[in-house]
């Protein structure tokens, strides 16, 4: 008798069913009754068609593009922290967050941009909140990008350190990408042939990685050195022309990255059926693969590090439930290529639900591991270990080192490809911010790239990655809340129902500001307790310096570097305060704009209850 409840199978099926209800029920209802999407309305793609930025594109192509643009490391690593509170709350947030908020933001951002003639969030923010609001957004985005970069550089360095086979494999993929770029653009070789050559080189790179593992000999200094190497690669990616480096590398990286997710989902669906008997052959492990992690819910982190389930869980799992980054993608490029308005739901909403499945696959990879993997929350190898557990039964001919290198490489390329784009984007935003004035030297492409990598490198080698991740999640989710408020303002102005976006928007803003406050408190309290010489309350070591050492990573988390750690804690307090103030100020402007928009719309509303016309 197969015990479905003990394996992840049931949760995969339940999530898919609930996402189906969300898409075909709630989302379709919102599309019809709130936004009233109309296939006959001319979209910006037709209105301003130029064949470059504005052109109508098939919804299937756009769905693929949108999904690829939004799916990165977020849905993979968020559940690693989220599972701290038990896998059940993490799963509920992945389902409910996406059901009520996540898709609504992605789809709403796209529709808002379509209804605003394809304009992106900068001009829309300017229209709704004025010049100061847009400047505020710019400042927020700059800090947001620094925090993303810090988190991703820290993770890439940790992955190279944890999986010795992955460095050679990563370099192999990059070189293969550069070669493919040359073949494609310089020698005009057919794209299918280039893809074949590139994929063969990717396979060779993985085997070379297994054959020639690279481990640095400097112990606790390894991660800072890896982070420095990562920064050099990112510098090249940011300043070189995209067809030379980023484009072909990202193209090649796409194949292993998505193959890994499909393999994990297949593995999760097969968990209750092991061992499988075909004739006289028996395949797979001797027993079904069961869930090992506790379901929870734990209202606070049992390890005493992260804090309460609210607001931490809601910022720890960002992408997969809701992510502000998606609103930038939806409004900056996809909206300009939407063929008809009714495509916004499958493209924006559909891609977000698909990303929820990616987060689910990752959560399942963690669920099948024993709790000891999560002690101290430093074991970044956990996802890889879970992926190997799920997939090795049906990929029996591939050895554990090959699979470990493969899944480790997947983690790295997810982070590296997005981070290359983030570094480039930072360079462009810096160029815009400091184009004039005393600091115009910072707008130089080399200077801004170096700044955009040096500051995150400093954070990456000093702060524990989970602390950075929570700041990243807080900033990212806050951006999502702000995006939902922009959507709500537009709906208020057009006299459409606003409660379906106002409530999620307010929830996200309050939650993320609370999370940022909590993080500020965590770092600030450590500083205060240490300076007050207060003994650390738990563990055998009552030394007051533990207050500040717990928030930093090796090599700084030893007593000899207590003053350095103190400085880092203080800097993190400052970063948190800046993010909080920028976010709060933006939120206040948006709420004020919402209220005035509502009042204006009511003043214009017809006296008779005939509803009036809602969209111009």
């Amino acid at each position: 008798m197969v015990d479905f409840l003990a394996t992840p199978f049931l949760w995969v099926v339940a999530t898919i069913v609930l996402y189906g209800i969300a898409y075909w029920g709630y989302a379709k209802w919102i599309d019809r009754n709130v936004w009233r999407s109309d296939a006959k309305k001319t979209t910006p793609a037709h209105m301003y068609m130029d064949g470059v930025e504005y052109f109508p594109t098939s919804r299937y192509v756009l769905w693929g593009y949108q999904f690829k643009s939004v799916a990165a490391l977020g849905p993979i690593l968020g559940p690693f922290i989220g599972i701290t509170f038990g896998w059940l709350p993490a799963l509920i947030w992945i389902i409910a967050g996406n059901f009520f908020i996540g898709w609504l933001q992605d789809y709403g951002s796209m529709m808002l941009s379509v209804r605003k003639e394809g304009r992106s969030f900068g001009p829309i923010t300017y229209e709704f909140t004025g010049a100061r609001g847009r400047t505020n957004l710019l400042a927020f985005v700059l800090f947001y990008l620094i925090i993303i970069s810090a988190a991703f550089i820290a993770l890439i360095a940790s992955f190279w350190n944890a999986f010795p086979g992955t460095f050679v494999a990563t370099i192999g993929i990059i070189l293969a990408g550069v070669l493919c770029g040359q073949l494609l653009y310089r020698f005009k070789v057919n794209v299918f042939a280039v893809t074949g050559i590139g994929l063969a080189l990717v396979v060779v790179s993985i085997y070379l990685g297994v054959a020639f593992p690279v481990s640095l000999p400097w112990g606790v200094w390894n991660v800072p050195v890896w982070a420095f190497i990562c920064a050099i690669i990112l510098y090249a990616a940011a300043v070189l022309p995209t067809p030379t480096f980023i484009q072909p590398t990202n193209y090649l990286a796409f194949y292993p990255a998505y193959a890994a997710i499909i393999l994990i989902l297949v593995g999760a669906l097969l968990t209750p059926f092991w061992p499988i008997q075909i004739g006289s052959f028996v395949i797979g492990p001797p027993a079904p693969i069961n869930v090992q992690m506790p379901a929870g819910p734990f209202l606070t982190d049992p390890q005493g590090i992260l804090g309460p389930i609210w607001p931490i869980l809601f910022v720890a799992i960002a992408c997969g439930a809701i992510s502000g980054w998606h609103s930038l993608v939806s409004s900056s490029s996809s909206s300009k290529q939407l063929d008809i308005e009714t495509d916004a739901l499958p493209v924006g909403g559909g891609a977000m639900f698909s990303e929820g499945l990616l987060a689910l696959a990752s959560l399942i990879a963690y669920m099948v591991l024993v709790p000891s993997f999560f002690a101290g929350r430093t074991n970044v190898a956990a996802w890889v270990a879970g992926a190997v557990v799920l997939t090795s039964p049906f990929l029996g001919n591939l050895t554990a080192p090959v699979l470990t290198t493969f899944f480790g490489l997947v983690l790295i390329i997810y982070a590296l490809t997005v981070q290359a784009l983030v570094t480039r984007f930072f360079r462009l935003v810096a160029g815009e911010t400091w184009a004039e004035g005393r600091f115009h030297a910072l707008s130089n492409k080399h200077v801004s790239t170096v700044v955009g990598l040096a500051v995150p490198w400093g954070f990456a080698v000093s702060g524990s990655w989970w602390a950075l991740w929570l700041y990243f999640g807080g900033a990212n989710q806050l951006l999502a809340g702000l995006a939902i408020m922009l959507i709500t303002i537009h709906l208020a102005r057009t006299r459409a129902p606003t409660r379906y976006s106002l409530v999620p928007g307010a929830f996200m803003i309050v939650t993320t500001l609370a999370a940022l406050l909590w993080q500020i408190y965590t770092f600030g309290n450590s500083v205060v307790q240490y300076l007050g010489n207060v003994p650390y309350p738990s563990g055998t070591n009552a030394d007051p310096s533990v207050w500040i050492l717990r928030n930093v990573r090796p090599p700084i988390n030893v007593k000899d570097y207590a003053f350095v750690a103190l400085g880092i804690n203080a800097v993190f307090v400052l970063v948190g305060v800046i993010l909080f103030i920028a976010g709060l100020s933006m939120a206040i402007r948006l709420f004020q704009s919402y209220r005035s928009s509502l009042a204006e719309a009511r003043a214009k509303a017809p006296a008779a209850a005939d509803g009036g016309s809602r969209e111009d």
Binding site: V52, P56, T57, Y60, L62, G64, F121, T242, P243, Y251
Partner: protein, 99 residues
């Protein structure tokens, strides 16, 4: 004018299998290559802006090359003037540069 991966195909009805195959191809193309294709188009657009600025700078009061050569090139540049104007006058923002 139909463009990349346009959804409206030829008027004859497609079989279900053909539709599924086209959708799968579209998804794969969108995931793997669409972003790169649009990035390449954008790069070409900026190069074209530069070319038009150099050849037709006179129109903007910026004589980059002598008018004699501008006039010689004019017939070749004329078909692109409309879309050039459209793109150059378009409002742009840092949030347009994400992807």
């Amino acid at each position: 004018m139909r463009q990349l991966g346009d959804s409206k195909g030829p008027p004859h009805p497609k079989s279900r299998g053909r539709k599924v195959r086209d959708a799968a191809k579209g998804v794969l193309y969108g995931m793997a290559a669409h972003g790169h294709v649009t990035a390449a188009l954008r790069t070409r657009m900026y190069l074209e802006h530069l070319f038009m600025f150099i050849t037709l700078g006179d129109m903007l009061g910026v004589p980059v090359i002598p008018p004699y050569y501008s006039l010689k090139i004019l017939p070749y540049a004329v078909p692109n003037i409309k879309s050039w104007k459209q793109r150059v006058f378009r409002e742009r923002d840092f949030t347009d540069q994400v992807f």
